[in-house]
Amino acid sequence: MKRARWIALGIALMMILAACTSDDGTDTTAADDGTATTEDVDLSQGADLTFHMVTHADDGVFWSVVKRGAEDAAAAMGVTLVWSPSFNDPEKQVQDIEAAIAAGTDGLAVSLASPEAVGPAAQAAADAGIPLYTINSGVLQYKGLGATTHVGQTEVVAGNGAGEFFNSLGATKVLCARQEQGNIGLEERCQGLEETFNGEVVSEFIGEDVDPTGQEATISSLLLADESIDGILGTGPNVAVRAVEACVTAGRTCSIGGFDISTDIINLIESGDIAFTVDQQQYLQGYLPIVLLFLEVTNLNTAGGGLPILTGPGFVTTANVGEVKALVDAGTR
């Protein structure tokens, strides 16, 4: 049982790692940060520019694609990228921003998941004359902070795109199935759907992702209770996957759409059970800021014209799922 020994080793390593990080958590010196969580990706081709990307990333499926985009752009532009994920810890994000300013960064891209906490530090960078871009989250705050522009997706616009897609599919009444209650982002996706969709929209909370079979039962309850629903938009990838089985149970043919990308949803789009998924194209959220920073520093270009630059909605449909699948495996979608 080599595997078992490996697992034991893994547990031991994790415990040691956990102990280390908790010890070092209060220490803000650059050297410690560097060894613990910050990764230097030195792909420079002789250029002397260094850009910092400080995000609330968790190194999950989503952010690994953003990181890949930033790395590819840095390589293409010949600049140095410092990627600092904060694992949803605003305090660490603030410390990383301050460390980047102190290190004399040439440009900064920041995700503003916690604008109250992280905003002031980002503003300090802009005030110090460092080119600043917000990415992923922060579309409402970027102007106030003095950022050149925001690179990301707005949920309402993404919902709008889904609404138009359902129009083209000929749906008449769409269930907007949310996997969280009181999450403003998900509500905005449904709101955006309602704005552009020609038919009727019912927006319902259908249970959380932690209870997948409950989600499936709730969707089929809703379908059985309302014969006129012929489309389902899941505000996450899992909900859309659950909707497929729920439609079979209810004996209906529904057009199903989802949000974001997962292996399951890609497979179901390939098999034709799901019509589309709305893709944020987060690769762009890593790639574009580096290009924009490069152009702003070297050529004084400011893109966007004061408006945010939207990376989505892009759609994965039966038409392009084959190519997208390959790209997902390659880590860029």
Binding site: E204, V210, D211, T213, T218, S221, A225
Partner: protein, 645 residues
């Protein structure tokens, strides 16, 4: 049935010897049944079912049942195990995370070792290994709690965090994703999927005689319960009188003739569903008369004549209660007649005119019927004739309400099915008032009669359940042609039933069950009388882990993949279900059946809301209200039970 926490009056000899002592007054099996911990949950489940049946078209049909049973099954397996642990005085907050952990582990053990890699084991090895892991976690929880004396709340909270961290960590480590998938790649999958992933597709099981069999079983079941109740509540003659048998046979024949005639009318009770109950009054009268004659016949055959009928009199309180009842009923009926039955206008928070009308009327009817029954019960001890008059009056009022509903209601359900059920209730009330007037009630235990009565009642309930099961499992070819929906019953429902029955038997019939109550009630005292407290608690923790293993397998074989966060936080639902089912948070009291019923209540509420077309934002408000009501009712019932003892 009642050998758990209240065994004192089980012994008939003891009971008879002590007769005359007021504190040990005879408590019939009926009263003992009403003081079971899960009775509140049973009533609650019935009320919620009726409620959603009224407001939704689909909920009361097989489609609805397939839906909420699916949710109830996995929730219920956990709730039953958690109930046992709670009776034993402990909590397990890691139970929810464990369901996902076992599901993930089995997949990680099975998928082939690739770039990131699993262990590539056969399912024949992987499943026992996963079970061993689950047992280990349960053993760990129990041992730490016992050895350290720390609160299980804290210990299992740690296990909870360890599990969610490990789930995410290992998922990423082995598959670089937050989801592990590919269980069907394992060898032995074809066998194990039958154990954990099988399903019964209702559409594929056609049985055209279904409704006939259903009606037949329901009628026999009703007769068995009816006879059993008579046997339990009357004093036997020393020698049976055969003349009564002939009268009873005539009555039964008449009742059967009525049922036969009403077969199409009494859709709700006997099978097919149409709107013609009211027009078949001839058959309805035959049925009612038949039942009354049969009851009297059985009485003449088996029971002693009543010695003293008393004289008609009502105390001041009773008169006041009856006056209140009449007032409330008149007010409810007045509201029902005056308010516009089709108005959908909103009159207040979440309430339409129709809703207000239904609530005022329903409340009036329930209060107006309950109060006289309580009066009849109180006065009837002294004077059977008073009981008869009050019960007859009540049953006439119910008949009146039934006809009012039939003429006023807009929905077919009320006009046909609620109408029929109300008439049946009126008939039962009338018989319940009539019998004490003619035959001597029971004041002491009678082992033979008790045994027969209980057996008949259990047989009747079994027949009801069998009838409902057949109706749920099979489709008629007519239905199959008309429906597009596919109804799958997952094997999880079967596991749920098996698990709940097994847990109930262990709790109520074994030494281990007694130990569980003992360590939850007072651990120190339990230890002093020789109960192995530490071992009992550890086994209870392991039971919860095994339940989590079972749910994890059901999940993994159903979805073929498990995401790292699956199950996290669900432990609160398990605890809520256990509490709704009448289990005390402080331990020492409760039942496994209660936990199962609690899970059913939660599942029906969760699925009833979308069926009723309510906005899902109210979901948790509804859960909160149910939880509070359940705790209040259980508390009330328990106090009454303690007073009665």
């Amino acid at each position: 049935m009642s050998a758990t926490e209240s065994p004192p009056l089980e012994n008939a000899a003891l009971e008879e010897a002590a007769y005359g002592d007021e504190r040990l007054a005879y408590r019939g099996p009926l009263l003992r049944l009403l003081t079971r911990p899960e009775i509140g949950a049973l009533l609650g489940a019935a009320v919620i079912w009726v409620y959603f049946w009224l407001v939704s078209d689909v909920f009361g049909q097989a489609a609805g049942a397939a839906n909420y049973l699916d949710v109830a099954a996995t929730l219920g397996i956990m709730a039953v195990a958690v109930s046992l642990l709670m009776i034993g005085g402990e909590f397990d907050l890691s139970a929810g995370a464990m369901t996902g952990a076992t599901g993930m582990l089995v997949i990680l053990l099975v998928i082939p070792p690739g770039e990131f890699g699993g262990a590539g084991l056969s399912l024949w090895v992987a499943i026992p290994l996963t079970l061993a892991f689950a047992l280990g976690v349960g053993w760990f929880n129990g041992t730490v709690v016992e050895k350290t004396g720390l609160l299980s709340f804290i210990v299992t909270l740690s296990t909870f965090f360890i599990l969610i961290g490990a789930k995410l960590g290992f998922a990423k480590l082995f598959t670089a994703k937050v989801i592990v998938e590919g269980l069907d790649e394992g060898s032995g999958y074809d066998f194990w999927v039958k154990i954990f992933g099988a399903k019964w597709t209702r559409n594929d099981h056609i049985f055209d005689g279904r409704d006939t069999l259903f009606g037949f079983l329901m009628v026999i079941g009703f007769a068995a319960v009816f006879f059993g109740m008579l046997e339990l509540s009357h004093t036997r003659r020393e020698r049976f009188n055969a003349t009564g048998l002939i009268v009873a046979a005539a009555g039964i024949a008449g009742a059967l003739y009525g049922v036969w005639g009403l077969r199409h009318g009494f859709g709700f009770v006997v099978g097919a569903s149409t709107d013609t109950v009211g027009s078949n009054w001839l058959y309805a009268a035959a049925l009612a008369l038949g039942v009354i004659v049969a009851a009297v016949g059985i009485g003449v055959w088996r029971f002693e004549r009543v010695s003293d009928r008393g004289s008609f009199s009502l105390s001041g309180t009773s008169l006041r209660n009856i006056a209140i009842a009449l007032g409330v009923i008149l007010f409810g009926s007045f509201v029902a007649i005056t308010l516009d039955s089709s108005s959908e206008d909103i009159v207040g928070f979440m309430l339409t005119v129709q809703g207000l009308r239904a609530i005022v009327f329903g409340f009036g009817a329930i209060v107006g019927v309950t109060l006289p029954v309580l009066v009849a019960r109180k006065e009837g001890k002294r004077s059977p004739i008073t009981k008869f008059v009050v019960m007859t009056g009540t049953s006439l009022v119910i008949v009146g309400l039934a006809f009012l509903i039939q003429s006023e209601a807009t929905s077919r359900k009320f006009r046909a099915e609620v109408f029929a059920v109300l008439l049946l209730i009126a008939l039962i009330f009338f018989v319940a008032g009539l019998m004490p007037l003619l035959f001597q009630g029971r004041e002491a235990a009678h082992p033979a009669a008790d045994r027969l009565g209980k057996m008949l009642a259990a047989l009747g309930i079994g027949l009801f359940l069998g009838a409902v099961t057949i109706r749920l499992l099979y489709m008629t070819s007519e239905e199959a042609a008309a429906t597009q929906a596919v109804f799958n019953y997952r094997i999880s429902i079967l596991w749920f039933i098996v698990f709940a029955v097994a847990a109930s038997l262990v709790l109520m019939r074994t030494k281990f069950g007694n130990w569980t109550f003992a360590v939850g009630g007072n651990k120190k005292a339990a230890r002093e009388v020789g109960v192995p407290a530490a071992r009992t608690k550890t086994i209870l923790f392991m039971t919860v882990s095994v339940a989590a293993f079972l749910v994890g397998m059901l999940l993994a074989f159903r979805l073929n993949s498990v995401q790292a966060n699956v199950g996290n936080g669900q432990e609160f639902l398990y605890i809520i279900a256990a509490v709704v089912g009448g289990n005390l948070l402080s331990g020492g009291y409760g039942s496994a059946a209660g936990g199962a019923l609690g899970a059913l209540i939660m599942a029906m509420s969760f699925q009833g809301i979308p069926f009723a077309g309510w906005n899902s934002d109210w979901r948790f408000l509804f859960v909160g209200v149910i939880l509070l009501l359940a705790v209040l009712v259980n508390n009330f019932v328990r106090k009454k039970a303690e007073e009665a003892e």
